[in-house]
């Protein structure tokens, strides 16, 4: 199907089903229960982040996973995409289509320039060059190009770029919503479905982003299976052999860099389409680092890893930052008071504003015990499960070879 082989088709269908059914899957607990407050993730804002960061990391993986070139400045393209989209909202209309197209084009142009220079070096020097470029972009956006009193205020500095009522919006129609919309369909609108005490939210912005993520995912599968994808893996494996096999590695790595930059631009454009406000902090080096972390968490160089990594990161960030001392006390109330206070006192540093700490520890554990990321964890579990089954003998005759 779709020119994919059997296992890729299966993978794609599973991911598509999860994306389309996410409002159900992510809301397992009935509305209003304390578990729902904590663990339900089926609300628009978070679901949008899942798929948008999914796109970002899928693109990053085409560069880092295939060629091994570790860009430490990919957040720059995310930010560039965000600003481009808001400019389209300001100048044309709140329709997201021109915004998304421009965010990909501008990010593509920037990644062509930055990639061309950075790819003159490899290894750590490449990473540092991309980091330097990203920090330059951040500083330009934050101050130089963001001075509200100057005539070339492109980013509106600290305040962030947003749409004002006196913006030209040359193509705006009076009937369309004044928030980002797809031909009149407002991104922020949701329809709700109540079943018993459960409530499920279907948000327009989420579904548009989700479908774009599926397209992005499909393209990445095709790239992985193409001769081009094989050449990118060859770059990672042995550049010397490539050169002496008549292959010019430069355009291959540059193409991968630009493709992944455009993915990041699209993700940035989508962030602005969900909420038309772009700030420089999106380009900060910590944001670039988070992209690397998501890619490694999920499993570098695997197809599904980026989606898993982005989802895992966003989900736990969300939960951990919601937990506070009160909730901890509630959970541990079965313990004797002294012990309860002691444990809450320790856990205090790992939740709420301390979520970085927990996520950092999780990240370290994954790196140490699962160098192939969460995908490797899943594979190991599957293997264990299979072995158990065959040991039981119950299944040994009818399990297919693969």
């Amino acid at each position: 199907m779709l020119k994919l082989n059997k296992s890729d088709t299966l993978l794609f269908v599973i991911v598509a089903a999860m994306v389309l059914l996410a409002p159900f899957i992510l809301n397992p607990f009935p509305q209003g229960s304390s578990l729902a407050q904590m663990f339900n993730a089926g609300y628009p804002d978070l679901m949008q982040r899942f798929v948008i960061f999914g796109i970002l990391v899928i693109g990053f993986n085409i560069l880092f996973g295939l060629t091994g070139y570790l860009s430490f400045g990919h957040a720059a393209f995310l930010g560039i995409g965000s600003y481009s989209a808001v400019w389209m909202f300001k100048l044309l209309s709140m329709n997201v289509i021109p915004a998304l197209i421009l965010s990909m084009i501008v990010a593509g142009i920037f990644s062509l320039a930055i990639g061309y220079v950075s790819l003159r070096r490899s290894g750590i020097y490449f990473s540092i060059l991309t980091l330097a470029f990203a920090q330059m972009s951040y500083n330009l956006a934050y101050s130089v190009l963001g001075n509200p009193s100057s005539s070339y205020n492109l980013t509106n500095g600290e305040t962030g770029l947003q749409v004002y009522s006196n913006d030209p919006q040359y193509f705006a129609s009076s009937s369309a919503p004044d928030t980002p919309h797809l031909f009149g369909l407002a991104m922020s609108d949701s329809s709700k479905l109540d079943i018993g005490s459960w409530q499920f939210t279907f948000n327009n912005g989420y579904y548009m982003s989700g479908i774009l993520m599926l397209v992005a995912f499909y393209i990445s599968i095709r790239i992985f299976r193409s001769p081009f994808g094989m050449m990118l893996r060859a770059v990672k494996s042995n550049q010397q052999r490539m050169n002496y096999t008549g292959l010019n590695t430069k355009p291959y790595t540059l193409a991968a860099f630009v493709i992944s930059g455009m993915y990041a631009g699209l993700a940035g454009g989508l962030l602005s389409s969900m909420d038309p406000l772009a700030g420089a902090e999106r380009m900060h080096w910590t944001a670039s680092g988070e992209i690397v972390i998501m890619a490694i968490l999920g499993g570098v160089g695997t197809l599904i890893g980026p989606i898993v990594g982005a989802g895992f990161n966003e989900y736990f960030k969300n939960i951990l930052s919601k937990i506070n001392d009160g909730i901890l006390h509630q959970w541990l109330s079965f313990l004797p008071d002294g012990l309860e206070n002691f444990i809450v006192g320790i856990l205090h540093y790992f939740v709420g504003k301390g979520w970085h700490l927990t996520l950092g520890l999780l990240f370290m554990m994954v790196i140490i015990f699962l160098p192939g990321g969460l995908v490797e964890g899943g594979q190991r579990l599957a293997k264990l499960f299979k072995r158990k089954k065959t040991e039981d003998g119950s299944d040994s005759n009818n399990t297919p070879a693969k």
């Binding site: 020119k3 095709r222 790239i223 299976r225 193409s226 001769p227 081009f228 994808g229 094989m230 050449m231 893996r233 060859a234 990672k236 494996s237 042995n238 010397q240 052999r241 490539m242 050169n243 002496y244 096999t245 008549g246 292959l247 010019n248 355009p251 291959y252 193409a255 493709i259």
Partner: protein, 254 residues
């Protein structure tokens, strides 16, 4: 005129004159060996032929065209393939993929953006790669990770990868270094077969006299960056200068 003409090539590393004044002519469809003691400049000479090093003086002509100033991938596309002293293959890729890459490089050139084609659906390329694997006696290992191959198999794979590009000149730098006798003999047979069956010129650097005298039609002896003599194997064996400079006690072994 040979297919490869090296004229007055010199190369200096700091204070060390690695190549003095090298003149070499390799005849088309011959097997030409370059021998010489350690540090004689053999690898340096080879590096000057494939674009890894640029000589300070002199010229290198391949089939009437200068190779100097060209990048390694451009020189390869002219028809020169190189086998390295330690096999250079794509360790993370499967054996079949290793063979596919040079096939694509030969057909599609140095860069080709085919991000939407399915690699394995390209019948022409897959058949060519599989055919080459069969010729190398490796068809059964096509799904293996190349890094997991034995050293002898890695060498065969690398030679096969070079051959799949149908080069006109194949350069080998000590292809049997560190190999067991059996593997060495296999490699000799393979190279013999290659030079018998194909229109190909082979230039080989080798320390093992057994290999050299089994394969070469002409031998150049290099010492301290300059060619001492160039002659047929029989004449080289008895040449006093060569015995003095290089062969020494290995003569009776040959």
């Amino acid at each position: 005129m040979g297919i490869l003409e090296v004229k007055n090539v010199g190369k200096r590393f700091g204070g060390l004159q690695a190549l003095g004044d090298v003149n070499l002519s390799v005849a088309e469809n011959s097997v030409h060996a370059i021998i010489g003691p350690n540090g004689a400049g053999k690898s340096t000479l080879l590096n000057c032929l494939v674009g890894k090093l640029i000589p300070d003086t002199g010229s290198v002509m391949f089939d009437g065209q200068s190779v100097l100033g060209r990048k390694p991938y451009e020189i390869n596309q002219m028809g020169i393939s190189r086998v390295f002293q330690t096999p250079e293959i794509f360790g993370d890729l499967s054996v079949l993929e290793n063979m596919l890459i040079p096939c694509f490089a030969k057909r599609d050139g140095a860069f080709h953006l085919s991000a939407f084609k399915n690699m394995l659906a390209d019948k022409e390329m897959v058949e060519r790669a599989q055919h080459m694997l069969e010729e190398m006696n490796m068809a059964g290992k096509h799904a293996m990770n190349a890094a997991a191959l034995s050293r002898g198999d890695k060498r065969r794979l690398e030679i096969g990868m070079c051959l799949s590009q149908e080069p006109r000149l194949l350069l080998l730098d000590e292809p049997t270094a560190g190999m067991a006798r059996a593997d060495t003999n296999n490699t000799i047979d393979l190279l013999k077969q290659i030079s018998d069956e194909r229109d190909i010129t082979i230039a080989i650097i080798e320390h093992d006299m057994h290999v050299v005298f089994s394969l070469a039609e002409r031998i150049t002896v290099l010492a301290q960056g300059t060619p001492l003599v160039e002659d047929t194997p029989d004449n080289i064996k008895g040449h006093p200068k060569v015995r003095e400079a290089y062969l020494g006690e290995t003569q009776d072994a040959a």
